[in-house]
Amino acid sequence: MNEMLNVALPKGRLGENVYDLFARAGYRCPEIENPSRRLTFENSALGIRYFWVKPSDVAIYVEKGAADIGVAGKDILLEYRPDVYELLDIGLGKCRMAVAAPKSFREDHKKTLRVATKFPNIAKKYYASVGRDIDIIKLNGSIELAPILGLSDVIVDIVETGATLRQNGLEVFETLFGISARLISNKASYRFKREKIAAVISGLSAAVKKETEND
């Protein structure tokens, strides 16, 4: 069996920060630091192979065992509920899941609430918990546009600084939960690459702790 540890990293700024954390934890891979269009990189001396995947696909790669471990946002884990272990909060990519609407919005409880979101399962679960009848409008991007054009009453979406909401005349009405990036593991890999994964957890925990102390 392949003894390399396969790590799925989310493409983009978050992924770069995650790789920096892995590098500080002792898992540098010089190849990845040179700009290129390649998607896989390995450091055979350390027995680690990284690959970039779409952030929302990280959990799928890990669940299906193509990657042994990976880093995925808590939003993705709560939306898709992949069958993986959630081993560590690495504290990066902090933001929140929130209900937002135009500043003038006043909720009419006699009507079904129209909710636009990329996260239908999270939205359904939240509104079920407060007993509110809703219509879900599943969108794949530019969620802020939905209430502006009357497609929905509110949106359920990720809010980082709130700047995009403000620029579009929206504001947060309710914060559902905080989000950050999590180290996840395939359940079988956790068993057959136990020591390697334990070493990564320990290295990343120390790097996260150091970063928290420096903040």
Partner: protein, 361 residues
């Protein structure tokens, strides 16, 4: 590595029959009510249904255990059966026919029966692949600890879900949010972290659980761990992230993994909760093996669809074609006989039968 699924099936059958388990053969259908009453026990809530000729709503079996429990009479003894059946479950965008094997031990299940079923689970895994692991935990001990910490029913489910994710940070946060201040919360977190070889488990478990849960249950579980570690050294671990639905499972619960397969290939436990729900007085333990997951382990074909392709001239007499086929297949080679060369198939050798006789291409 096995050359085929059939070979593995036959070896598993020998494991089950070797312990005296009888094969249980059942119908593909069952009344839908059985599954609608026990939805939580099923891997998926979606069931493939149809209306029978007499108007009854029927379902293609999504699960075998429920049918066996329903159809097993309570005789006062112990019923030991195994099965190899197809079940029908929602998977991805549609329903899928899934091959499943497993066994059930129902009735006056005693300590020996539990050890026997666990040892058959370990043997089944080792039959699939030498690099394997059986993980066990005990839901009864876990729930006793959670109840002792004063955690309510809905919060208990969340605690168990977080333990199943090995989400230690999330678990600590949840317990703090719930205002659970009992010192037993530290023990719950210690159990969530608990993951060690079965040989080390008894001492470590007694340290965490001693005096906090039923001494009898703890002692029985520790005895089981000792038995398994002696019989299957370094193959069995005690891992409390192995969890299941509390309405059905009540005692030992286990999952099996084989190197090369990304998910658990075996799942089982003591389902006394299900027996109670189905108004049975007896106890039960069993497991299922998900044979469809094992496909990557089987030897892939060598890239050829047959050893030999024999292409014949349409004007050739059938007895000449058959005679050429018999000669070519005499040493056990597979021979596909066709009048034209098929597209997309590969052969080691090609022979052409024409009026001049058989020639190698």
């Amino acid at each position: 590595m096995y050359c085929s699924q059939e070979e593995l099936n036959s070896r598993l059958r020998r494991v089950f029959e070797g312990a005296g388990y009888r094969r249980y053969v059942m119908s593909k259908f069952e009344e839908y009510d059985l599954y609608s009453d026990n939805r939580d026990f099923l891997a998926s809530e979606k069931v493939l249904t149809f209306t029978d000729l007499d108007g009854r709503l029927m379902a293609l079996k999504p699960d075998v255990t429920l049918s066996i429990v329903k159809n097993t009479r309570e005789s006062g003894g112990i019923e030991k059966v195994y099965y190899h059946e197809n079940v029908y479950r929602a998977s991805g965008i549609g329903f899928k026919e899934i091959s499943q094997a497993g066994l059930e031990c129902i009735g006056e299940v005693d300590e020996y029966s539990v050890c026997e079923v666990l040892s058959l689970a370990a043997q089944s895994l080792m039959t699939i692949g030498e690099s394997c692991e059986l993980d066990i935990s005990h839901l009864g001990l876990l729930t006793e600890l959670i109840d002792g910490a004063g955690i309510g029913e809905s919060a208990k489910k969340e605690v168990i879900r977080l333990m199943g994710e090995k989400n230690l940070g999330g678990l600590a946060e949840f317990l703090a949010d719930e205002g659970a201040k009992s010192p037993l919360c530290d023990d719950i977190i210690a159990l969530a972290k608990f993951d060690c070889d079965a040989s080390e488990a008894p001492i470590a478990l007694r340290k965490i659980l001693g005096g906090k849960v039923s001494e009898e249950s703890l002692a029985l579980f520790c005895d089981t761990c000792e038995f398994l570690s002696e019989e299957f050294p370094s193959k069995v671990r005690v891992d409390f992230s192995t969890v299941g639905d509390l309405n059905y499972y009540s005692g030992i619960i286990f999952k099996g993994y084989v190197d090369g397969i990304p998910a658990s290939v075996l799942s089982g436990g003591q389902y006394n909760g299900l027996m109670k729900k189905m108004k049975r007085k007896s106890r039960a333990i069993g497991f299922a093996l998900y044979l469809d997951l094992l496909e990557p382990l089987f030897e892939s074909s060598d890239g050829f669809d047959a050893d030999i392709l024999l292409i014949y001239d349409r004007s050739a007499a059938p007895k000449d074609i058959y005679s050429a086929y018999k000669n070519l297949s005499a040493d056990g080679k597979s021979v596909l006989v066709l009048p034209d060369r098929p597209k997309a198939l590969r052969f080691r050798e090609v022979y052409i039968l024409s009026r001049g006789g058989v020639r190698h291409e």
